[in-house]
Symmetry: D2
Subunit: 372 residues, 4 copies
């Protein structure tokens, strides 16, 4: 039985985590914290069936937990995760604090100094489809952002050599409102969201941009160095035994992948759809991308490539840990543009479900435990 602590349990990801933990037979909650609602029960704060008592984070019995999930906002989260790691416990951080590898990049995008840059090198980006082996060993997992999860999973198979004619990937991404959290802002007032579609942070300005680009460029470098995906659907860092120097050289000459990322707020509670546009090389145009995606993800428990002719929608994945992807190859004048639709539930595969998937890996359980 894994003993679990939760910091910031009264947000949407915290409550979602409680829901999934309720169906996980090998884990139990030993504490749940909330600075503003300590002393109350979770069901007093948010309509739900969990009457878990809430404590202040300072009063949380860290020692009772095997792993702590931090659902706190960035900045605050790094502080508490550091405390968890110092206490010899493992941490899964839902915030962005440990996702970016370089403190300077963090500072540029989050506009404050990173509170614990010394931990950045040991944090593992919690996307099992890319970093499964490292997650299993990690003390500190940076749970991926929701937008990055949907974009990265929809882009990975295209990072093989010579597929992209242009390093710019367009991600036209639409998200439900729970992704913006429970904090009050005018932009999440019911009347502002309802009967509307509102783009925001257009272009290259959303904080998920550096995260997406870091992971995609990292993945491309890895694929390049391992001759793409010829041998395995999933490339692990520890599989890089035969790095060919000339390949490294070639990779370094490539322009880095840049994402033109246009997030848009949908009038729904949960779910996210990224419509992705890639420009293919002539060689790539001749390939069957439906087949390549299917092959790439064939062993992944939570990535579903839809059959040819079906289109991924949010309804395919709502309330599940699945990522549904459909691949739409074009013909004629449009043959150079590949369209990929990638859908997740932002609260599950985009947050709490993915965190549990990581936890399962970290504790040697079947990766899908409690996630079906």
């Amino acid at each position: 039985m894994i003993n679990i602590g939760i910091f910031g349990a009264t947000g949407y990801t915290g409550v979602e985590l409680m829901r999934w933990l309720g169906r996980h037979n090998e884990a139990r909650v030993v504490f749940a914290s909330s600075e503003t609602s300590a002393g109350q029960r979770l069901s007093d704060v948010i309509p739900c069936a969990y009457d878990t008592p809430l404590v202040k984070s300072d009063d949380a019995p860290l020692g009772d937990a095997d792993v702590v999930f931090s659902c706190l906002p960035h900045g605050a989260s790094a502080e508490l995760c550091a405390r968890v790691v110092q206490a010899g416990r493992r941490a899964i951080d839902f915030s962005a604090d440990f996702r970016l590898r370089e403190a300077a990049v963090y500072t540029r995008w989050y506009q404050h100094q990173h509170p614990h840059p010394e931990l950045l090198s040991q944090a593992v980006y919690g996307l099992p489809e890319l970093y499964r082996a490292r997650i299993a060993e990690a003390e500190l997992v940076a749970n991926p952002g929701c937008y990055p999860t949907s974009v990265i999973l929809g882009a990975l198979p295209l990072l093989r050599q010579n597929a992209l004619a242009n390093p710019i990937i367009i991600a036209d991404s639409k998200s439900g409102v729970s992704g913006a959290g429970r904090k009050l802002t005018q932009s999440t007032h019911f009347v502002e969201v309802n009967e509307n579609l509102a783009p925001y942070n257009i272009g290259h300005t959303h904080r998920h941009v550096p995260e997406i680009e870091q992971v995609l460029n990292d993945a491309r470098a890895k694929m390049d160095s391992t001759s793409g995906l010829k041998d395995s659907g999933i490339v692990e860092p520890d599989m890089q035994s035969a790095i060919v120097a000339s390949q490294q050289a070639r990779t370094s000459l490539l322009s880095p992948i840049t994402v033109l990322f246009n997030p848009q707020l949908l009038p729904i509670t949960r779910g996210m759809l990224s419509m992705l546009y890639f420009q293919l090389t002539p060689g790539a145009m001749a390939q069957d991308w439906q087949a390549l995606f299917t092959e790439y993800y064939k062993d992944e428990p939570f990535v579903h490539i839809l059959p040819k002719g079906q289109i991924a929608t949010i309804a395919h994945v709502a309330h599940s840990n699945n990522c549904a992807i459909s691949v739409h190859q074009q013909e004629g004048a449009l043959a150079g543009t590949l369209v990929v639709v990638s859908c997740i539930d932002n609260l599950v595969k985009g947050a709490s479900g993915q965190a549990l998937q990581c936890m399962n890996l970290m504790f040697g359980l079947d990766e899908s435990t409690g996630l079906r």
Copy 2:
């Protein structure tokens, strides 16, 4: 051309007022105020097509206006309306500040002293269907609340003598979120409202309760004493002219009407439906209430009694100044209970449209000008 000032233009009722004024050929906006957004234009603050500049209320050129609409919250609104009246201009107040006749009742429900109790006696409740003649003369109109408008219009025809076996009226009322205003509260966060129905202030606790009861008891007394509403534009079919002293005596002995009022928040932007339950006397059970309602409202431009067999829905009235009412007489064991459905758009007949209807009356225009 009527010159109009607006206090608090950046709320939902303010913007709705702008929309309707845009179609009103005999009125123009001479100023619009906002304490927090002065210096900006309305379209900078809320997505709309009105680039009206916003001023602080202290800088508003009161003297340029023939009438000022105050869309401010209670308390603040009374202060500014008093200033308008003192400046010899007419005021239409959207807040509750001048709706209740007695300052003590106001203090009990709003929990602060009334800032201008001396104005209460001259304020007219702006429901044309009851107080048309007095509105035309008014210097200060208290624009009715949205819930009260829907409940009162659905109940008026039943206030005639000997119709109600029980002075308790049940109003099961559901409202769109714009009725709660643009202020940020957890209960209007998109995620809390969406896919939910949330009752609140159950029983006898919502601030619209004293307003509804005051108007219904007032209307009953009038009907009783005049056997109809001779002075106010609503005439009873039987039109007796003589006030019988014994009837007056009888009225004073009646139990006051009490409303069991259960408001519920709907996941929609605008619109309101009150499902009303009345207990009829045996005599009233024998009457045809479909016909009585139709007759009662036959000259009203904005109250529509639906044909027998149709049921009023919010879709009947959205974006219009209409109140749609359907009457559902029961049989057998249920013959003693009359069901009435009363629907309005809370931003129009429940706020800005009704205010314009009052303004039309105050300035001698056709009551429907700009409201079709």
Copy 3:
């Protein structure tokens, strides 16, 4: 391992059943039927993660199933349930076909002859809170309607002797659209539902009326004969060992309970809220109904009486098998009216979850298996 067959798997209750079965460790699906989509997989027909093959009901391997869930419409469902029972398998019917005890009542409300009246006497109404012991033994369970579940659970504690001053119960019930099924009708078109609230079948005309009244009158008779709920929160028929003749006589003299039932369509996918109004006797007014409800349901795994001061909302129960109830006792002039709010998820406690709860009872499992 319980082997399960599903008739009519492509409707909303069918897919919801699949979802919950996916988390039930002691059951597996052995067939799923669809007349119109046989030959396809479930995920081809409705966006979901279940690629269960669909067969025609005639081709379904009935013999492989221990229990069959029929999610078919009334009429068709009775035919197939009869076939299941004849094959010596147990059946849980989601339709209304076996809910009403008398074929004549069925014919009056459903306007066709009952296809298998001979089975009516052996069918058990699948509401565990009332008929737990009989469900465990049943060969044929009539799964309750969604509206009846919410109304009955909110009313049961009030059926004790001398509580109700009036046999009329007002149920102002609002439902999400999935309750209307997947069939195409103008009234479930997105544009007709969205931004609307639409009452329908007002008064005493909805087909759930006879079902609610049958169960409430049945429950009242039982409570009466067992001196109310003195001994246990849940009155089982087999506990009626000491029926006092005089009590029976008294019961038969009481007016039957009649429900004034006003269903209304909410612009949400799932969830149901019944606002219930009861008229109390003077004796009952003096009692603490918060405490009585809490006591009544204290051993029920899926009925939650909210703490005093909280109000039940649909958000409390969405995607769960819970029924959340809040009790709102009034004072002063309104003391004679008790307000109860009763919420369920119409697809779970109102359909598929309740059916699994019955299945668990029928096969000797813990009633909550797979339902947390």
Copy 4:
């Protein structure tokens, strides 16, 4: 007073047309037809305040109308529009029947023979921003599709010489459900739409594709031949007096504009947002597109270029005839991609409002009459 007939008045565009006509002081409805609801009133068929009687189209008094709006589906609409034109009346067709210039293209996309190819040459595409002068003279106006209106208005200023590096325009377009009409389909069932975002007809398969491409290529040719937009924001065909042969030659050598068009169904009733992606030439990257768009549309009454820094949303245009456009120029690695957001209300500027705008032009009224 313009006398108006409406064919197919019970659809969403028909009812929307009634709404706007109610505020148009110089037009009145002389007949409204419905094949399925003839004999009833409009308010019997759809919840609204219009009790206009409905007749069969064969019984419509064509001779009483100055202009007839046809809100019928394609195919049927051409038949009736032909009858109107033969009767010497003017017609505005909401269907696609007269939008495509070539009957063969129509047949390929609509998969039946065009019923009246002889009328194609005289039909004018009813987009005032492109064809204002011709609309004024037209006997038969093809009212543009909603998607085409949003895409074309967002693209027009970019069609000048040497702006686009690539003839492929990506249009990621999201629409409210009323755009799909009132006909019953599984994809417009409330439960399928709600809490979902569903792409459909991805790539180059939606019937609006040939319409968008025809108009954009036509507009590009015109701009080219008139030296772009140097002299006026709006290029009229009759201004093409000095067509330089070498320009024509150059134009004909250009690859035709191709649209990669990905429509997606939003869970809202009305409104449409097209996110457009253009690839700029190096020369165009150096220009200020915010200023160019503002200049291009400076005299247009219904196209609003938002100030720099604001982003167009559906809320900007709902229930109005406006098209709100925001221009988002990128820097650095993304400088070659221009993002334009273009929003309309699909029922107003995308249908009924645009039709009234055309009618105003056809009858010599101010273009904005009744549309504010």
